[in-house]
Amino acid sequence: MSAKGGAVIDSVRRALRREAGAPVPARPEILPARAAAEAEAEVEVDLLLKEVTALAGVAQRVSQAEVGASLRRLVEQEDVRRATCWNTPRLRALDIEGQLRACGVEMVPPRADKHALAQCDLGVTEADFALPETGTLGLLSSPEKPRGVSLLPRVHLALVSRSALRADLHQVFTEAKAHPYLILISGPSRTSDIELTVTLGVHGPRALHLWVLDDRR
């Protein structure tokens, strides 16, 4: 430890009149987590869609068979010419990249540099977690799941499996704390800094699309 760290911690210790190595009692109890509506998983999906919509996101259920058609609609609506996509097994299995190419979209690899990612109109990710209560997505990062894909493009599309739903922050944090990075996203980038007018897309994506994948046959 540096000498200065010692100095600050020493003055904290003096102020608190504590001895070095004095025991610390257990921290106070934390309130229990919210319980999910277990009986009916669809209730949680409904809540997620409602909350994301309330945050000015575009949220819907999409079945596997509809993914291609939904992508085509998204490309037209948002005028997508260039896109990037996480390289996860699920997104590969859905062939997001191939389907976007079929719509005439130029694909940029997700590990491209920041300038290339910033030129993209669309970034596609797969949520590691989703919190229905607050309409929140949780994304981790890895070489296959670069951080910039959900940040630099103008539009963010996140695919959510039902297995990603969590009832409360408690569960998300228990699973995420071993990872070097977690981002919680609740709606598109927003500000009220000019005359309190809500404006979307300041620095992050202007639009957030969330598709809950329907795994049922």
Binding site: G5, S186, I194
Partner: protein, 478 residues
């Protein structure tokens, strides 16, 4: 603004020269935030239990801060980050400038951060020939304008869109219409270039998790993500009071923070950053530096009554409810932190000599205590500081202008004299009838116009006894 902390804060003098546009704009903001906050709080079944848990948790952490700081340093280092300790603002500035020189940064991008305001970092950057860019839209605007923030959450709320458009035309040389959406797009484009060009990003942190050495950064615009993701070097300057024991503790504090600040359930983006990136492919900074700032905080810890000041999570809710803040705005508090929390934080940080007027900048109404998400006993600490000032420093006596003293004496006489009060209740509606419209008086003759210049005055709605009789009519009284 200069980098040095002020030597003496003349709250009384500042507050007498507040332009009337400031309270009007500030009250629009505070009204909005309080409305949405009330809606969020009403949805929560366990709001009071959450507040109590947060208060207990923060107090426990402060009481054992030495241990949590040691754990934090170990964990940040283990995750590949570097920890620097700063006893005061000058040491913190020197650390940050040293890191900036080390990576050859000519420009830096910044997230709105109270700690960097506290140490006057922007001024230090400019002196060293490094250009700092504030990236929070409101901070960016006031940086262009060269003024300070008027509100903790919406720092440029005192500026009209026409003024911002003129500022953009002058400083950025672009054709800017007076439209919030268009102005935001201009700022987005201008700052995108800065984000992509800067070698170094500077942030604060809302929380530091001792358990894993994790920095938690909360923003709505996404500039927090940009500054901590895009540049190769990330420097965080954070007060030692921001430590929490573990991630479980965050479940309580994050549920309170956004709801209290803006009335959101969670802010748009919450980043949890543990060390620099592990591999080139995933993005994020290659280096992570954490500057831990004491700058007087350990002195606050020593005073057991005032210690609770450091429970603060900087939501700004106490500003929104404060009748004093709402009428003078942020500038009058003379330093980076304003409102009730500023009135107790600043005198302790700068000394009760420099900040001795601030503990008197309060009516002791206690509205702030009722809403504080971590239950800081602000009024108790205000009185405690007044006592400390009275025992030590020479106190500038709070003095009111002659007109106010005369008016207060007249009010005391008429309110305490039954017949006079009843007469007044009859005469007032007649006198104000020509001025009142829809229950509000928008203009009064001098010297009463000191009020209506700043805000409309509610018209007299009749005596309480008459109102009560009408209100309870047809109801059985217990």
């Amino acid at each position: 603004m200069s980098g040095e902390a002020p030597k003496y804060i003349e709250f009384g003098a500042y507050s007498r020269h507040v332009p009337p546009t400031i309270p009007v704009a500030v009250q629009q903001a505070t009204g909005r935030f309080l409305g949405t906050r009330a809606a969020r709080v009403a949805e929560m079944e366990n709001w009071e239990a959450l507040r109590q848990a947060a208060s207990d948790l923060r107090l426990h952490t402060l009481a054992h801060l030495d241990v949590y700081l040691e754990r934090l340093e170990q964990q940040v280092t283990a995750a590949g980050g570097r920890v620097y300790w700063a006893r005061d603002a000058a040491e913190a500035r020197a650390h940050v400038l040293g890191i900036a020189r080390g990576c050859g940064a000519r420009t830096v991008v910044k997230v709105k951060s109270m700690a960097t305001e506290e140490i006057g970092l922007n001024h230090a950057f400019e002196q060293a020939g490094i250009q700092p860019f504030e990236t929070d839209l409101g901070e960016y605007i006031i940086q262009l304008a060269g003024t300070g923030p008027s509100h903790i959450i919406v720092p440029a709320v005192h500026l009209k869109k026409e003024e911002i458009a003129a500022l953009f035309r002058e400083k950025l040389g672009v054709d800017a219409p007076a439209d919030p959406v268009a102005l935001t797009a201009i700022a987005r484009a201008a700052l995108r270039e800065r984000f992509l060009a800067a070698k170094m990003g500077v942030s604060g942190a809302n929380f530091l998790v001792a358990e894993t050495g994790t920095l938690v950064v909360v923003t709505n615009e996404g500039n927090g993500r940009m500054c901590t993701t895009v540049p190769e070097v990330h420097v965080a300057v954070v007060g030692i009071d921001k430590v929490v024991p573990d991630w479980e503790s965050l479940t309580v504090l994050l549920k309170l923070l956004a709801r209290s600040a803006t009335g959101q359930k969670l802010s748009t983006y919450t980043s949890f950053i543990t060390g620099p990136r592990r591999s080139d492919g995933e993005g994020g900074p290659k280096e992570l530096h954490l500057v831990l700032l004491d700058n007087g905080r350990s002195r606050i810890l020593a005073d057991e009554v005032a210690r609770e000041t450091l429970k603060c999570i900087r939501c700004g809710c106490c500003l929104n409810v404060c009748p004093v803040y709402k009428n003078v705005g942020g500038f009058a508090y003379g330093w980076f932190i304003s409102g009730p929390i500023g009135a107790i934080f600043t005198p302790q940080m700068l000394g009760t000599r420099a900040g001795r007027e601030l503990p008197y900048a309060s009516t002791l109404c206690g509205a702030c205590v009722d809403v504080c998400p971590v239950k800081i006993p602000i009024t108790k600490i205000l009185l405690h500081l007044r006592r400390r000032i009275a025992q030590g420093d020479r106190v500038a006596p709070p003095s009111a202008p002659l007109a106010t003293r005369v008016a207060a004496r007249l009010a005391r006489w008429s309110l305490a004299t039954g017949w006079l009060y009843r007469l007044g209740a009859r005469v007032t509606p007649i006198l104000e009838a020509p001025l009142a419209r829809d229950g509000w008086i928008r203009w009064l003759p001098a010297p009463l116009n000191r009020w209506t210049q700043v805000r409309p005055m509610p018209a007299f709605r009749g005596g309480f006894r008459a109102w009560w009789a009408a209100h309870t009519k047809g109801r059985s009284t217990p």
